[in-house]
Amino acid sequence: MAVVIGFIPDEYGEAALAYGLGEAQRRHTGVVIVNSTKGDALVDRRYLGEDDKVTLEEQLAASGVEHELRQTTGKDIADEILAVAKEVIADVIVIGIRHRTPVGKVIMGSVAQRVIIDATCPVIAVKPG
């Protein structure tokens, strides 16, 4: 039982992380941070590097919540988040969402949308700011 947070190192990920940590404290449970990459480029700045991991670890330690970081590679980020959620029997999934125009959604797709539709537990969608 845990709060699963989809995390990428930007404002959307930070928003999800902050809300997810609060949610975990409220539910008296731990968090599982999922950071995934498609692994199809040499460099993916959404995938945590060594320095990013240190920063994240400090943030998590400061919150005092029990935590775990999962870094996975797969062709669909939504599937990666859902797979972890299923494995740890998540109470709730927290994700950051961004504004996308309809055209942008057709081209880029939406990880958030697929997580919301396919999840078997409640999903909290957070906006930054």
């Binding site: 990459t37 199809d40 480029a41 040499l42 993916d44 995938y47």
Partner: protein, 505 residues
């Protein structure tokens, strides 16, 4: 002084706005393919070759030369920022360069690599301009038996001396020579290895082979290993160097150039040996040898200069003898033949405009590389974020288009897929690409010379040995085969730089 006048004439024709534009496009494209590991100048030139048929030969060679130098240059960026050498010659740069970058000195590492490349490339190109005419004059008098021996020498060196496995090298060479045999026999008109297929009677177009092996083979290889954990990229600002960096760099630059050029100019090919030697030399000479292994600037400056000097040296055998020693040179030679230019000792006399404009544009391209790329380093690093599916979809598109454009025949596209499969197989089994592609190119040339020599001697095998130069070269071949084996027996295994990339320049 003659050379100088000719070179200045070359500058005059290279400095037209149109040619300058081709040069700029070439260096940008070259840096692009150099930065991305797995895609090298050889692939880029092979892909562009069919698309440049509409251009003047001079203009396409300016473009190709820019790609070649740009590729050398781009490779160092990837080595330093990612510790992933874009091509085998950048392996040594990666060792110290990446350590420097991790210590927050990425900008200085990039700067010393860039300026070192510029200096080595400029000196190297000037040496090419001054040496090649003389060598070509001598080479015109070389007889067929000696020419055959020299070609054999270069194949043996590339196959047996470079690379980690002799057996794999010779397998690659055998595949290449076999591909080169397909078609009608030159003197009897007999069909060889065509399997009764009429379209094969003219031989296999080298463009189709090169594009298949380099582009399709690489694309399939990438598709088979699509998802890999992304690497940590080191952020970089504008490259600059402090006074101390300058004073520690200039000697390695010059020593690297001196080591690299002869290796490139010998028909041995490969920048691995001089870069390795330069690294070892700098470590010995440095007053701060303890810094080596932890990011010593000399360890970037020396090998990077050696790399570019040997890249320039490659033009000596290519222009004076018509003998390619690197994969890119092989594709350039194929390009010459598609334009109806006869490569060989007579090239300097037949096509002086082409040669001197090419050399002048190499010098211009080198300067452009420094001027354009030094400030753009952070931008080039962004290229590494391109997802592989999109990138290789583009490459496959150009590859198919190019293969079809050569003769406007669908048969060539089918052949392209066959060579793509061969390209995938040789990568899978770790067979080096350089002996293979050189076999395809040099094989038929060697056959011509051998037939010439044997015709003169009425088929007697002694016709291959009746020149002192030929015998001398055969002795060198023997030495090249025997000495390394004996040395490794006596001294025990020598540590050798290993590259995990299948890319060749």
């Amino acid at each position: 002084m003659d050379t100088l006048t000719l070179l200045l004439d070359g500058f005059a024709s290279a400095l037209t706005p149109q040619n300058l534009a081709f040069c700029a496009v070439g260096v940008l494209l070259g840096t692009f393919v150099g930065v991305l590991p797995g895609i090298g100048p050889a692939m880029a030139v092979a892909l562009l070759l069919p698309l440049t048929f509409g251009l003047e030969p001079t203009q396409s060679f300016i473009l190709f030369a820019g790609i070649y130098y740009g590729g050398m240059y781009g490779g160092s960026t990837t080595s330093i920022l990612l510790n992933t050498p874009g091509e085998s010659a950048s392996v040594m740069t990666a060792i110290e360069g990446n350590k420097m970058a991790k210590k927050g000195r990425a900008a200085q590492a990039l700067a010393t690599a860039a300026i070192g490349s510029f200096i080595a490339g400029t000196i190297g190109t000037l040496l090419v301009a001054f040496f090649t005419p003389g060598l070509a004059r001598v080479a015109v008098n070389i007889g067929a038996p000696s020419f055959f021996a020299i070609m054999l020498f270069s194949l043996v060196l590339v196959t047996a001396v470079l690379g980690s496995s002799k057996l794999r090298g010779f397998i690659g060479l055998a595949i290449g020579l076999t591909i080169g045999l397909v078609g009608l026999d030159l003197s009897t008109g007999q069909a060889r290895l065509t399997g009764g297929v009429l379209q094969l009677a003219d031989g296999i177009d080298i463009v189709v082979v090169a594009v298949g092996i380099f582009a399709i083979g690489e694309a399939m290889w990438i598709a088979a290993h699509l998802r890999r954990a992304p690497l940590d990229v080191i952020p970089v600002g504008r490259p600059f160097m402090s006074r101390e960096d300058w004073s520690r760099s200039w000697r390695p630059w010059l020593r690297g150039t001196a080591l690299g050029f002869p290796f490139g100019a010998l028909p041995a090919g490969g920048a691995e040996t001089p870069t390795f030697m330069s690294y070892v030399l700098e470590r010995k000479l440095s007053r701060r040898s303890d810094e080596f292994g932890h990011g010593a600037i000399e360890g970037v400056a020396g090998p990077e200069a050696a790399n570019n000097a040997s890249a320039a040296g490659m033009f000596v055998p290519l222009l004076a003898l018509g003998l390619p020693v690197t994969a890119t040179a092989a594709v350039l030679l194929a390009a010459m033949r598609t334009y109806g230019i006869v490569p060989g000792p007579t090239l300097m006399a037949d096509q002086p405009d082409l040669v001197w404009t090419l050399l002048a544009s190499l010098l211009i391209g080198n300067t452009l590389l420094l001027a354009i790329n030094l400030p753009l380093a952070p931008l080039w690093a962004k290229l590494l974020r391109i997802p592989r599916p999109q990138l290789y979809a583009g490459i496959l598109f150009f590859a198919s288009l190019g293969a079809y454009a050569v003769n406007q025949s669908a048969f060539d596209v089918a052949l392209l897929l066959v060579f793509g499969a061969v390209g995938f197989a040789v990568r899978r089994f770790g067979i080096p690409l350089l002996p293979l592609i050189l076999g395809v190119i040099i094989g038929p040339l060697m056959e011509t010379k051998m037939r010439e020599a044997l015709d003169l001697s009425n088929g007697a095998i002694s016709g291959l040995f009746n020149e002192p130069l030929a015998i001398f070269v055969y002795l060198l071949i023997l030495l090249a085969l025997v000495v390394p084996t004996v040395l490794s027996r006596v001294r025990g295994p020598v540590p050798h730089p290993v590259s995990n990339e299948s890319e060749v320049s």
